[in-house]
């Protein structure tokens, strides 16, 4: 059982014009094994910065990130990443992409093949192993990205707007897949998104972040992800509880945007 602990993390950096930006101020939370957290917020609220700090691509100016009792410095195979798009390796086949992590770790070939075949099945790409990734549609490419991440059996999966570039229909399908993988693998997942619906549907926990300085504005515990495992997702999205939450969060974000931009002239 691994637990992610984010402790008083702050991030301040200089801008080229001599000012400073407080991307994150004093952020703390912890995430138990198997929790599904989605993070939502207007652009500039520091959600990507936070994810990059947890992934180990950025070092915070203050505070620490622990996995269990181990303090994290730099990236590692214990934290898998799924990016928006274009992070697959075009020179490798679908199967080779999925097996990349295991290959780099020098695992035996038959073991890699076994894992890859199993994952191709899991993400619904059984007959696509030998295809080139650029031959696949955007949704299929993201399936490969999910499988590639899972092949490494990470403790936690970090998703940086993984479905952001997909069309609405594919996006709904993929949300179902993320829920299914979450249930089947029991992985801890942090998902960053711009979509309020997605954040509600794919978050047991939901942080709404606010900018200047970047901070957690409001925290929710939500039933929709759990419900989505058994019920029809479309019904959940249409339910009164879901719609009320959605409107509440939407107006919250609108308010933040207006504070930044001044009242919008429409």
């Amino acid at each position: 059982m691994s637990e992610l602990v984010v402790n008083n993390v702050s991030m301040i950096f200089d801008t080229p014009d001599g000012g400073t930006v407080e991307a994150l101020r004093d952020l703390s939370f912890n995430l138990k094994q198997g929790e599904l957290l989605s993070i939502l917020g207007p652009s500039g609220c520091g959600k990507s910065t936070l994810l990059n700090i947890i992934a180990g691509f950025l070092a915070p100016t203050a505070g620490t990130v622990h996995m269990d009792s181990r303090e994290l410095h730099g990236p590692g195979a214990d934290r898998g990443m799924v990016f928006q798009q274009g992070a697959l390796f075009e020179w490798l086949s679908v199967a080779e992409n999925i097996g990349f992590g295991l290959t780099m770790q020098g695992r035996p070939k038959h073991e890699i093949r076994q894992t890859v075949n199993h994952l191709l099945e899991t993400v619904g790409l059984r007959d696509f192993g030998n295809k080139a990734v650029y031959e696949l549609s955007g949704g299929m490419q993201q399936r490969v990205a999910l499988a590639r991440c899972l092949a490494n059996d990470p403790d936690i999966i970090l998703m940086d707007e993984p479905l952001g570039a997909l069309d609405a229909l594919t996006r709904e399908k993929m949300q179902g897949l993320v829920l299914k993988l979450w249930k089947e693998t029991g992985k801890t997942i942090i998902l960053i998104t711009h979509s309020v619906e997605e954040a509600l549907f794919l978050g047991e926990k939901l942080f709404v972040m606010a900018p200047r300085p970047g901070r957690i504005h409001k925290e929710y515990s939500l039933p929709f992800a759990e419900a989505g495992l058994t019920q029809d997702p479309r019904e959940i999205r249409a339910s009164t509880a879901f719609v009320e939450k959605r409107e509440e969060i939407l107006s919250m974000i609108w308010e933040m945007e207006e504070q930044i931009m001044g009242t919008a002239e429409v």
Partner: protein, 285 residues
Amino acid sequence: MTFIERLKERVGISASGLEKRKTVTFGDAAAVADGRFWSMMSVLTLAMAWYVGSALGWVNPIFWPSPASVWDQFISISGEGYRNFSLWEHVWASLYRILVGFSLGCLIGIPLGFAMGLSKVVRGCFDPIVEFFRPIPPLAFIPLVIIWSGIGERSKILLLFFAALWIMVIAARAGVGSVKLSKIHAAYSLGASKKQILWHVILPNSLPEIFTGMRVAMGVCWGTVVAAELVAAESGVGYMIMVASKFLSTDIVVLGVIIVGLIGYGIDILMRKLEAKLIPWKGKA
């Protein structure tokens, strides 16, 4: 249907499918992509003009020879050779210089370009040098390389090495720069080491840029070798042209020029075929 359309259909190269129904073709690159018909026509017309023009005696053969005399020279030189070397030895002499000079340029240029793309120190140190030498035409170094190493093979190879080097450095540097950061991040979080990322991510990712650089470098090398042989050499296609011009043997000069053109064209086609085979993902990422 116009005459041309009927003709195109006859040769089996008329537009197909949706292309036929496009109402806007001006400015649509796809609509003008297939010009094979017109290529055939233009080559045929040029050949005809040359043949008819010289048959009717429009130009003095000293200035421009007839196709027949060029052909005769081709037969005779490929049989008997010219100036102690057969035609193929002349061609091979030029190609050999290119292959060696170009390969050396790649061998040094690609790793240097990579180092410049990966290290601030290396980049800082070499940027001014590369940017200074890059715009200098390689031919400007001919006097210097002749002083250094005479008119033999070494001077030519050195010159071609110089010609290819800067192009390859810049291509490799651009290749490294083209890697999407998310690919690097993905590789790190999949547990890859720095060395593995270099070999399995940065290198393959930069192949399209490197290949484009190779095509450009090959073209420049071919032009440079011929020009260098015109100045000073003992064999090669350029040498053949230079000697023939001293004897006013225009037919050999033109033969040489045609050979230069055909080989240059051939090299580029070869490189493009190779590119399509080795880097099928180019432009699709």
